[in-house]
C-alpha cells in the first residue's frame, strides 16, 4: 500500500523538472505532466515534455512500491522536432541476451524495414530524473551542433 513514497518520488521528479524549466515549452498544447494525486492514485507516470526546440520526451512508467519505488513496464522515448527518435529506454522483455535484461535502450531513428537493434543501458538505472537529465544533455548537445 502507498505510504507517501510515491508522493516523495513525485516531488523529486517535479523539482528536477522545474530545474530545467527554461528549456521547456510548457505552453505547447501537447505538454502534459501529472498532478501528485494522479501519480499517487494510479501508481503511474504519464508525461509529454516539450522542449523549446520542439523535441519531446514521452514518458510511460508504472511505479512499484517496494522498499523503494521502482519503475517497471516503462518506456522513455525522446523524439527530435521532426518526430525522429533520438533514443528510447524501455524494459520490454524482448532482448534476453543483453546485459541488464530486461532493461535496454535503442538509439537513433527507428528502422522501417530492419530490426530495431537494442543496446545495453548507458546509464546506471532508468528513472525519470536520470532520463530527464539524459534528454536535457541531448537537447543542449543538439543546440551546439
Amino acid at each position: 500500500m502507498p505510504d507517501g513514497k510515491l508522493r516523495a518520488v513525485y516531488w523529486e521528479n517535479f523539482t528536477a523538472l522545474a530545474a530545467v524549466e527554461d528549456i521547456l515549452d510548457t505552453t505547447h498544447p501537447d505538454y502534459s505532466f501529472p498532478s501528485e494525486d494522479e501519480v499517487e492514485y494510479t501508481s503511474a507516470l504519464h508525461a509529454m515534455l516539450i522542449f523549446a526546440d520542439g523535441s519531446r520526451l514521452i514518458v510511460h512508467s508504472w511505479l512499484e512500491i517496494a522498499d523503494e519505488v521502482q519503475e517497471h513496464d516503462y518506456a522513455y522515448v525522446y523524439l527530435d522536432a521532426q518526430g525522429n527518435r533520438v533514443f528510447q529506454y524501455d524494459d520490454a522483455p524482448h532482448h534476453p541476451g543483453l546485459p541488464g535484461y530486461p532493461h535496454h535502450m535503442h538509439k537513433g531513428r527507428k528502422p522501417v524495414a530492419d530490426l530495431d537493434r537494442a543496446w545495453p543501458l548507458d546509464v546506471l538505472h532508468v528513472d525519470f530524473v536520470t532520463i530527464l537529465d539524459r534528454a536535457t544533455r541531448e537537447y543542449r548537445r543538439s543546440l551546439r551542433a
Binding site: W11, T15, S35, E36, E38, S61, D73, V77, H94
Partner: protein, 139 residues
C-alpha cells in the same frame, strides 16, 4: 550542542501549499495532523530539508500539471483508455499484456507503451481500492 546558525528558519504564511501536505510529501509518510490554511507556522529545518521545500514550492508555481481528480475518476479514465486501445487493436488488455511480455508483439507501435503501463496501473488500482471495471463504466 547543535549549531543553530546552520539551521535555517522557514516561515510559511498564506501559502497555497498546505504545510502538513508538504511535510507529508517530503517525509514520505503521513504526519497525522492538520494546519488550517492561512495560519502562519514557524519550522526548524535542516538545510537539506529547507532547500527541498523551497524547490518544491517554486516548482509548483512554475510548472503546469494536469488537474487532480479522485481515485474513482482516475480509475474510470484508465478503464476508458484501455477500452479504446482494446477496440483499436482488437484484443483485450490482458491478452495484449501477455503477448507483449512473451515477445509475440514487438515494440513498434507507440500505443503499446501506454497500454502496458495503463494495464499495470489498472491492476494496481483494483487491488488497492477494490474498484471493478463495471463500477467505472456505470458510475
Amino acid at each position: 550542542m547543535m549549531n543553530q546558525h546552520h539551521i535555517p528558519l522557514l516561515k510559511l504564511q498564506n501559502t497555497d501549499v498546505p504545510l502538513a501536505e508538504l511535510v507529508d510529501q517530503y517525509r514520505g509518510r503521513p504526519v497525522g495532523f492538520e494546519i488550517a490554511s492561512g495560519e502562519g507556522v514557524m519550522l526548524l529545518l535542516s538545510s537539506e530539508d529547507y532547500n527541498f521545500v523551497i524547490s518544491a514550492i517554486a516548482a509548483r508555481k512554475a510548472l503546469p500539471t494536469r488537474p487532480a481528480r479522485t481515485p474513482a475518476e482516475y480509475f474510470a479514465e484508465t478503464v476508458r483508455i484501455l477500452h479504446d486501445l482494446e477496440q483499436r487493436h482488437g484484443m483485450t488488455s490482458a491478452d495484449f499484456y501477455r503477448q507483449f511480455q512473451e515477445g509475440n508483439l514487438q515494440e513498434g507501435l507507440a500505443d503499446y507503451w501506454e497500454w502496458r503501463t495503463r494495464y499495470k496501473s489498472l491492476l494496481t488500482m483494483k487491488e488497492r481500492f477494490g474498484f471493478s471495471e463495471a463500477e467505472a463504466v456505470y458510475a
